[in-house]
Symmetry: C2
Subunit: 270 residues, 2 copies
């Protein structure tokens, strides 16, 4: 039914490349990344992202809708490859393979291309280390309705398989920019966007900080928090009150809480 090239050899170059793409360097050199599983592939298509290539192995399918999804992808331009059960096991990076993995083109927006709402509402994160945190942060940003997420001096890249997975498809729709802190600081100034940095050392509570108007919330890395550069460049510092042990809120949780306080303030009657 499907017009798919058949691959069974583990030595096939395409199979080998799928394994390589778990690493950042080949991802960035080829300007592509992997998305695995039925949900990821279906979310990508929903959001108008058409995988260049999809590799599938019906032996691993867990539901009934995989073939329809593949047909839809093919009709939109995805090239399909049917691979053997063993070959799929080799290329799958998830614990429970679902028999579908796709290759998607990277996009690299420049900060200058961002479409801003009026007033702008942005999230900036500095040097996030864990892909799972970055994925969760993207989900929170989506739920809060920010214009874009700006990732400065990134440690994990946006296209890490665990960012793709933990973002549950948000990666495919949330405008994201990878840039340097210097460029982001410059850009905030040029666009007259206030920056509010979250840090446990601030004296002002986040609920008492003005989070309305043209504004970016700035969050630091898991281990080190925000750099001196951002603490100096920001317009204001703010903190979340903590009742329990110091590390109960990680960076993803602190981001979520701060974003939703901003949502509350921004939707309150003026």
């Amino acid at each position: 039914m499907l017009d798919a090239e058949q691959i069974s050899s583990l030595q096939n170059d395409r199979i080998k490349n799928l394994v390589k793409l778990r690493n950042r360097r080949p991802r960035d050199q080829q300007r592509i990344f992997l998305a695995e599983g039925y949900r990821a592939m279906s979310r990508a298509l929903e959001k108008g992202i058409v995988p260049r290539e999809i590799y599938f192995s019906p032996d691993w399918f867990q539901g009934e809708n995989e073939m329809d999804l593949l047909k839809r992808a093919q009709s939109q331009g995805s090239k399909l490859f049917e691979i053997s059960k063993i070959a799929f096991e080799k290329v799958a990076y998830r614990d429970r393979p679902e028999g579908i993995i796709g290759i998607i083109s990277q996009w690299n927006y420049s900060i200058k291309d961002l479409a801003l709402s009026n007033p702008p509402f942005l999230l900036i994160v500095e040097s996030i280390e864990k892909p799972g945190n970055l994925g969760t942060i993207l989900r929170s940003a989506d739920a809060a309705g920010v214009d874009a997420v700006i990732c400065c001096d990134s440690v994990t890249d946006l296209y890490n398989p665990n960012v793709v997975r933990s973002s549950t498809g948000v990666l495919f729709s949330m405008p994201t920019v990878m840039t340097t802190s210097d460029e982001a600081i410059e850009w905030l100034r040029e666009n007259s966007i206030r920056s509010v940095a979250a840090t446990p050392h601030a004296s002002q509570l986040y609920t008492e900080t003005k989070l309305t108007g043209p504004m970016a919330i700035i969050m630091g890395s898991e281990q080190f928090g925000l750099s001196e550069k951002w603490l100096e460049a920001c317009d204001e510092q703010t903190r979340i009150p903590m009742a329990g042990q110091a590390d109960s809120l990680n960076v993803a949780m602190a981001t979520l809480v701060t974003l939703f306080e901003a949502v509350r303030q921004r939707s309150a009657p003026q």
Copy 2:
């Protein structure tokens, strides 16, 4: 230096039991659970929880402080067992073993034993399925300073190794109760504690719902949300506004946002 029994055989009954304890039934039958890693063990001791037994294997130690920790535990009553590198690999459930795993006694508080602050502030969760979510919920509850977390009709048990890990030690200090929804509903009535249920179908926004006074926030399961029982028994229903895709906030994230709105309201000048 340390007075520890030596175990090298993989067939040793204690080694076999450590593997068994990854499963709920033997955990509940023996009324004990596992905590693995330097941080978990050290957090337990900090909070006055003394592991009954600690198994260690210096070949896996990642830092310098493990021996001090073991001495401290031993002086407080933990029985120590030094096991071979291979045996430790077998008993470790974490990806990167740190050479320390302990057995801790379960506690089973009754809902009637809970110490409440004035006014009471509680979190009730129904049928949470994923241990990682329950652990994160405990962290959020800790950060928000709730009196206790009441787990109704639990799917995952409190002592699942992934709850222990993802709670980052909060499990050792946060009062937690496992009970039925029926008992919890009855108890709330007897104690005149208002219940506010979070559900995407509510018409009222969580920021417009009164979350002060004697109050419990009620959160449902990942897949099914709250049961009819809770939706009928609660005093009020509330929802979090969602800008993006419907599932961007999972139950752990929704719990965090709701708890911190309660903290904001409860600390605002009356």
